[in-house]
Symmetry: C2
Subunit: 313 residues, 2 copies
């Protein structure tokens, strides 16, 4: 686990992002991925500086991560057991405890925007699934695409390798250049928000939902902390991992770093979970924690320059 | 809120059930509903006495509640905006933190059994949605039915009234004879489990998921407490209500009654939530809490006779 430095902690408006936890195997892809994360952080910095609310910053940031082919969400998502993309996303506004979530999308270009529309609708409903969720997104003005939009040659190759190996179990993107994406932000008013988006795992069962779109599991924000997770989703669900970090702060009086470390380094391995999370507290303290060799991640503040990391760097 | 009595707290193997929170409007239906709850508690008592694991007791109990036409789950579920039944359920085994969840079922007679199959499969995957979830249930040997099986004349009449009133917002079953069902149990080994099943709300959007099938929101169990919720699902999701009860015990050192009261009487109203929950602790202490005029509920122990209640009785 890597705690953030003092400069970052003192800044007023902040953004942390992740592009998934895993084990990068192809060093040749690291450079473009780092570059993409840095560009997205710079965009986030502009929104922070313009005074955008935290919830807007995380939605726009995650939408950029969805559009980027290097990460497992939106364009570039992994393929399920049948070779299709099914997309999940969630967003939560900590200041009002409002949230939106979608699962099993196949036509909405930016799943996080469908989740945002539900949040803006007052979280009633809060969560929609399947074709009805796509239809809702379309009615709300979200951009629709044909399913082929999401697929990239790299993901098709990974899926073919998965199928050729006749692996019965879905796998994290462990070969493993990319993953779920997420963002947490604190705006200049001190409000917190979190958003997460994913294509799941290569070869996942059709209709399978992981932790990303589940409020409290992969995504949570209140007035103390915002959390976005990545990894073996089922383990995060069983722990209510994102809410567990918030609960340790709220009822346990724990610090953010201790709370994140306990969930990721102690609890997660007990249920066979691999992955990590990013979290941002209301006083501007941030943390990223992971129990995998690497996690694509980055941070930026209004004054603080973007910093991108993959391993324990 | 009503705390359980000493006799119940001292018994070894225990079961609490609920049939939804709301405002019973038709006193004529109360008698058969109470009778149904009592019969189901007696069945639960036999399983408890036979030494069945807690997770099996809650699944079998919830399956009976699903089969009963008086409650909003399985046969007798409410109809969505298009006049169809879409069913959600979850189960969690607190001793192993294993869980299973399904949403958007249309063909599986007992949604809780589909959730159980996922749990028994090692929670990998843990949650399935839509037609794929029905197909999984069928492959696991769950009984399939035609969609018409779930519908009752009463639910059709409620749906027609909803549509005639041109209500744009879904409504809790406030007229309000029935509701979501759930069970929490503690077996003779001290293990805890929780299960919840629902048809949602009359006129709900197609594809809408409430808290019932979401681990941490409407259903949660660990080695300290098992919780099943009922009410306006979105509010429970925003609070991660079931996990919040567990978190208050685990990290806040709160008692079960104080934790349940805080969530239901203080936090829930702040996010516009109505409903209640049942919870059972590892030492055999139990509680039910609700902020509606009534909640169908009951409890039984190996030695303790069944007790059924609707209002603050």
């Amino acid at each position: 686990m890597v705690a953030l430095d003092q400069e970052f902690r003192m800044s007023d408006a902040l953004l942390l992002i992740h592009g998934g936890a895993g084990v990068p195997a192809d060093a040749g892809l690291l450079a473009p991925q780092r570059e993409a994360l840095r560009d997205i952080l710079l965009a986030g910095q502009r929104w922070l500086a313009a005074g955008a609310p935290a919830v807007e910053v995380v939605v726009q940031t995650v939408a950029l991560l969805e559009d980027c082919p290097w990460f497992n969400a939106g364009h570039g998502a992994v393929l399920n057991a049948e070779g299709d993309c099914e997309l999940d996303a969630a967003v939560m506004d900590g200041s009002r405890l409002q949230a939106g979530a979608v699962a099993g999308l196949r036509r909405t270009r930016n799943p996080v925007r469908a989740a945002e529309a539900l949040l803006k609708g007052g979280s009633r409903p809060l969560m929609l699934i399947g074709a009805a969720a796509d239809a809702y997104a379309q009615a709300q003005g979200c951009e629709m695409v044909t399913p082929g939009y999401f697929e990239t040659p790299l993901r098709r190759a990974q899926w073919q390798a998965w199928r050729a190996a006749a692996q019965s179990a879905p796998r994290l993107d462990h070969d493993g250049r990319m993953g779920t994406v997420g963002a947490v932000a604190r705006d200049s008013s001190g409000n917190l928000a979190a958003a997460t988006s994913t294509g799941g795992m290569t070869g996942k069962a059709v209709g399978r939902i992981g932790d990303s779109p589940l409020i409290g599991a992969g995504t949570y924000a209140d007035d103390r902390v915002a959390v976005s997770c990545t990894g073996t989703g089922e383990a995060f669900i069983r722990l209510a991992a994102a809410h567990a970090v918030a609960a340790r702060l709220r009822w346990g009086g724990q610090g953010l770093q201790a709370a994140a470390a306990s969930v990721v380094q102690e609890e997660l391995p007990r249920v066979g979970g691999e992955g990590g999370l990013i979290a941002l507290g209301r006083s501007g303290d941030g943390v990223w924690a992971f129990n995998t060799p690497g996690m694509y991640r980055g941070r930026v503040g209004v004054q603080a320059e973007p910093r991108v990391a993959v391993f324990a760097d």
